[in-house]
Every structure is written in structure tokens, then in C-alpha cells.
Symmetry: D2
Subunit: 135 residues, 4 copies
């Protein structure tokens, strides 16, 4: 199962060459991840307590995205669940084109206490529902 | 030899947790790369003709960056020069801390003609001066 | 008649105080304006030819916007149509709250030729359909 | 007396037309204001306590800014000091060109307590040193 985030493209996302800038793809991944965390992962709205930080991220850019009024789909799913961290994969696409593939390592973090923390049992249960082995 | 870009941190770079957001690191890498291309690589100001596009990028996040008025240093250097692409490495740091390490694959691109192109002899000469084998 | 743009709020729009940053409101206005131009005003996709540039903008901030997964509505309408420029007004709102009011002066511009241009008859006709006298 | 903020232009600041986007000017004003607050206004680093929020902002765009490696100067000064708010003016310029003029109304705000607050005597003293009547 993958979480699908409908991602609007903004004029502001375009760079001087008229395409969505490579940096903005990292923003799209973040929006998909935050949407997933907000809708699926959080037991509460306390994102500051039950948060996570990006320890690693890797993106393959496959096709440029010109301005469009139709949203993109950003799919996010889980490829590993560890004790204090988990790994995710992403695809940025529409019906006909795969624009980018990405992977990330996320460390469970208590933002308020400013300290790493274990993945909670409630989080693990959700993360395992979105598990798909990496190909 | 590494190209060093002095990178101002903006209040706008901070996210809701008060640190420079992970996405902004990708922006810092881009600014360092554009500065390198503009000052060292371009034989002219025609960045649209003698450009490059990011095909792959990978970032390891090592330490958070809170707001600061002192600039960061982003170092960029070359780890491979191919026929139609080249690879770079980056470090985001200040005098005492290494905040992130990154690598990227750049494809030589004629933005105006919208087509890949060979790395030119003039580019190759500059890129080889900034070559440092990856560790 | 007002053009209504459904505006997604991104995590990236939040500043270190956890609210949508004041600068991002200007981005929301721009996205609404581009959407209006793209869907209503353009006779073609040639935004570079039949473009406009912002000569003046003024925003009143009425209420803060915390993170939300529901989109905001940005309404844009026309308050004056001149020979070479026109004026617009905006409201950023949801069902219960008016978050910001804004006005702007836009100068018709041929971006490719890099020169001001008259408002075309086709544009005038559309702009007048969205006309509402300023209160 | 005016506070002068040296503002780097980023490639990311450019829009699809190759100029610094109008929204980014609002970001430049914010960076100048934060720099002023951080260096001159704060008695401490507690920006969350002794903060301010933008209630109104108005920008006149006078000339476009293409990409440049030389920084811009953003000047900020004070045009009114009230009991719970103050007004500022800005100019975005370099040695030869005035790119934008702007004004803003800032409301003194205790971000942590989420409530307006009076302008403190220490703040008033600083603000009055940067006072220049609006022309």
C-alpha cells in the first residue's frame, strides 16, 4: 500500500529554465511525507513530539516537469522499519510519466525534547501497513 | 582544489522546528554549483547554452543548522568527468561543524536546444582542476 | 465575478513560528493570479508574450494561518482596466475566516520582447467580466 | 540612520522569466528586517518573546533584477513608533539602481504567549535612532 499525495505545482516552483527546479522535488517529497505523517502516522496533532528528521535522501531525476495546472502524484511507502529509524521510497509521477524516484532514511525524533527516540508501537503498526520491499 | 561558496542563511530557510529545513540544503548545494559554474566553468554568460541538469543527488544530513547571521561554507569539487556528464561532491560546514555531505551527477545540457551535449574541452579542463577522487 | 483559486498549504510555507509566513501570502496571490491568467486570460499558452508584471502590491494581514491540510481559497478580481495596466484585488480566506486582503497593479508586458504593451481587446473583455468596483 | 542588509541573490530567487520574482522581494525585506531585529533591536536572542508580526506591507516595483553574484543592499529604517506597533520603510538597491521601495506596519508580538504586547522602552530607544520621517 502506498500513500498518495496530490501535489499542486506552483509557478513559484519553476526555475529560470521554466521547469520545476530540482530542489523543489525535495519539497514535494517533504509535503508527501508530512501529509502521510499527518493523516496516517500521528496518533495526535503533536508533530513536535512524535516527529522525525531526514538523515539521508537520494533522488533520481528522470524527466523534467514544465508548468502544469494538474497536480502531480507523489507516492510514498515504507521499505524498512528499524528500532529508531525507518526508510521510505517515493515516486513523483502522473498518469503517463515517472518524473523522479527517491529514497530516504528518517530518524524518529522528539523535536520538543530535541532527542532521538524509538519508533513507537503505534507508528510501527502503521509503517508496516505501508511496507513494500525495495526492488 | 575545492570551490568554496559563502552561503547566507535566511530566516526563510528555517522550518516550523526552527532549523534550516532539509530541502533548503539542496538549495544551498544548487547555489554553490551555480556560483561555481558562473565563476569558474562558463566561458561566457550563456548559462542556457552551456548548462547542466541534475540527474541524481544524494545528501547525508549530519547536524542541524539553527538560524545564524554568519554564512555557511559550501564546498564543491569534482569526482568524475565523463563524456556527457560529470559527478560532484559537496560539504556544508563552518569552522567547527560538518552539517551535510552530498554527491551529485550532472548531465551537460544545452538548455536552449533542450538536448544533452558533450562536456566541452574548456569545461573538462576546469573540471579536472577541481578533481579530487571520492574517498 | 471572482476567480477562485484553491491553494494548498505546504509545510514549507510555515516559518519558524509555525505559521504561514507573510512572504508566502504574496506567493499565494501570485499562484491565484497565474491560475487566473492561465485559465481565463490567455488566448494561448504563450504566457511569455501576453504576460504582465507586478508594479505595485499591498497586503493587509488579518489573521495567522497555521498548518492545515485543507486548501485555502484565494479570490482574485479586477478593480480597474487601463490602457497598459490593470488593477486587481484579492482575498485569502476559508469558510470561516478572512486571512488577508490585498491589491495589486499589473502592467501588461511582452516578456519575450522585454517591453510594456497595451492591454489587448481580448484581455479587456475577460478583465471586464471579473470587474468589481473597489469598496 | 538606516540599517543596511547585504542581500545575496540566489539562483532560486529567479522565476521562469529569469528575473528575481516579485515574491522574493518580500523575502528580501523580511531578511533585512530580521537582520535589523537580530543585530540592533533584540536585547537578547529571545526573538520568540520580543518579536513582531507584519500587519501591512506595500511594495513598489521599480526595476527588474536579473541574476547577479554581487549582493543587493536592502536599507530599512523607521517612520513611526507607536505604543504597540511601528512603521518601517525599505529600499532595495545597488550603487546605480533603485529596484524597489516598500513600507510596512509591524505589531509588537509575544510569539510564545501568542499575544500583542507594548513596544518596550529598550526597543523604542533603538527604533528612534533609526527614525526618518516619511517623505
Amino acid at each position: 500500500m502506498r500513500h498518495v499525495y496530490e501535489c499542486s505545482v506552483r509557478f513559484d516552483d519553476l526555475d529560470a529554465f521554466g521547469h520545476v527546479n530540482n530542489v523543489t522535488f525535495a519539497e514535494y517529497l517533504q509535503e508527501a511525507r508530512v501529509d502521510f505523517a499527518h493523516r496516517r502516522l500521528s496518533s495526535s496533532d503533536d508533530v513536535a513530539h512524535e516527529g522525525s528528521v531526514v538523515a539521508h535522501q537520494s533522488i533520481d531525476y528522470l524527466a523534467p516537469v514544465p508548468f502544469r495546472t494538474e497536480p502531480l502524484q507523489v507516492e510514498v511507502w515504507v521499505t524498512r522499519v528499524g528500532t529508531t529509524s525507518f526508510e521510505v521510497a517515493y515516486e513523483v509521477k502522473d498518469e503517463s510519466t515517472l518524473f523522479a524516484r527517491a529514497t530516504g532514511v528518517l530518524v524518529a525524533f522528539d523535536v520538543r525534547a530535541n532527542t532521538p527516540r524509538p519508533v513507537s508501537p503505534a507508528e510501527r503498526e502503521v509503517l508496516e501497513r505501508y511496507f513494500e520491499p525495495s526492488s
